[in-house]
């Protein structure tokens, strides 16, 4: 993954920047996110409710939330899963409509 093309949903980037209080927005994928415990709890809740990504309790490792790059490594495989699940779901719906 190169530095400029970190692939995260814009909604998530927007959420992260809005929840940073006085801290400047994140621009560099390797810049420390400086999320505290409340921030982390809310981020996990946001990922679940808005992006349908479940973070298991044993995935709540400090290393996964240090930078945007680390976060992307954690959630991209999960995003692909939700996307493919959604696609399957859609095709099932289409199949249902056709029959």
């Amino acid at each position: 993954m190169n530095k400029t093309t970190i692939d995260l949903p814009p909604k998530l980037i927007e959420y992260l920047n809005q929840s940073r209080g006085a801290l400047p927005p994140v621009s560099d994928p390797d810049q420390p996110l400086q999320i505290d415990s409340l921030g982390l709890i809310r981020l996990v809740a946001f990922l679940e409710s808005e992006l349908h990504i479940k973070i298991e309790d044993d995935e709540l490792l400090a290393d996964h939330f240090v930078t945007l790059r680390a976060l992307a490594d954690l959630i991209q495989p999960k995003l692909r899963q939700t996307k493919s699940a959604a696609t399957v779901h859609e095709s099932e719906e289409n199949a249902a409509k056709l029959s």
Binding site: S19, D36, S37, L38, L40, I41, A45, L60
Partner: protein, 424 residues
Amino acid sequence: MTKDEVIIVGGGPAGSALGCYLSKAGIKNTIFEAANHPRPHVGESMVMSSVRVFDEIGFLPVLEREGFPKKYGASWHPPVTQGQADISFDEFPQEGIKQDYTYHVDRQKFDLLLLKHAESLGTKVYQGVQASEVLFDEKSYASGVRLRIAGQEIDVPARMVVDATGRHTLLGKQLRVKQNDPIFDQFAVHAWFKNVDKGTNRSSGFIHIYFLPVKRGWAWQIPITDEITSMGIVAEKEVFKTGRLSPADYFQKYVDSNPDLTHAMRNAERVNEFKLEGDYSYKMDTFAGNGFVLIGDAARFVDPIFSSGVSVALYSAKYSSERIKYAFENNDFSEAALKPYEKKLRAGTEIWYEFIRLYYKLLPLFTKFIESKQHRIEVLRLLQGEVFDRREVPVLEAMRNYIRKVEETPGHAFAAMLSDIPIN
């Protein structure tokens, strides 16, 4: 005064509420209060369950008439960034409680009103009278109290004696049954301020708790009137002792340590002296014996983080009054007749204690649980003071399991926040 009555030593919320219950049940009772009310007291915020007792003793109209600030919820502020987690009492309606708020109170005023309320129901009240010891007869039954009045000692007989002396713990000391808590030794520095910025949204009337970046440190913000706010800094006593700062400098140091608290206090002006409270948590080995019971803080004191104190006092009055009534009906004042009260109160206060212990063990756990769909209501139930008559509290087990998971997962984001409190 006759031998048929109950002597209640102490006219704080526990003693006064018991006076109310006994007077309503037609049991003669007298309160001896060492101070002359009004007198200052810490412990200004209440949980919802208190409302049930106020309703039972007919005290709600007084609270409404006097216009005490209504408390609709609570907010927690993390130590580093700005932002808050809120709970609102209307999320969890409680059986037998017809309103969605409790109260913040100026304790000088509140304690006096409750004492007067007991008096209006038939309790005899003597203020400025200090009881120096509880007297026991030849069968080891409590049989009266020794009073100190104008340099003289006077013995007053009673059928039963209730220790409601609060943190003076009259019987706890006399019977040597007081156990200081092995874990919690906290210390508070507090005062009243004006011009505290409480914000303008609904949470401006809530209690606010600010986490501080120091061992078991937190601050309270409690509205007392429209103008005045009570502010307190709580931490382990060693933090205060090793800091070697004056109360004012110590207070300011920790106000500066939390961004939301700094913001709230930026224009604040102190209106009374700083007060210090130590000797935090303890329990007695026994809350009931032949002819006596211990209620409120005289029986048990847990860390005040969740505003449990007045509620425990009121429920100890309610439950002890049931057994005192039984004792008079059956002419049985034995330990066995009174012990069910102890069992009930102990079970409830142990739930508070366990909740508080798990809270301090891992601070983010609490926030995680109140922000979780699965656990929120069960945590609210505890926060609103529903700790009595409960057979099981599964959310405490879930909290313990979560702590174990954090302990066992290398590199967990919360691992650095685990404290050294034992949880088994």
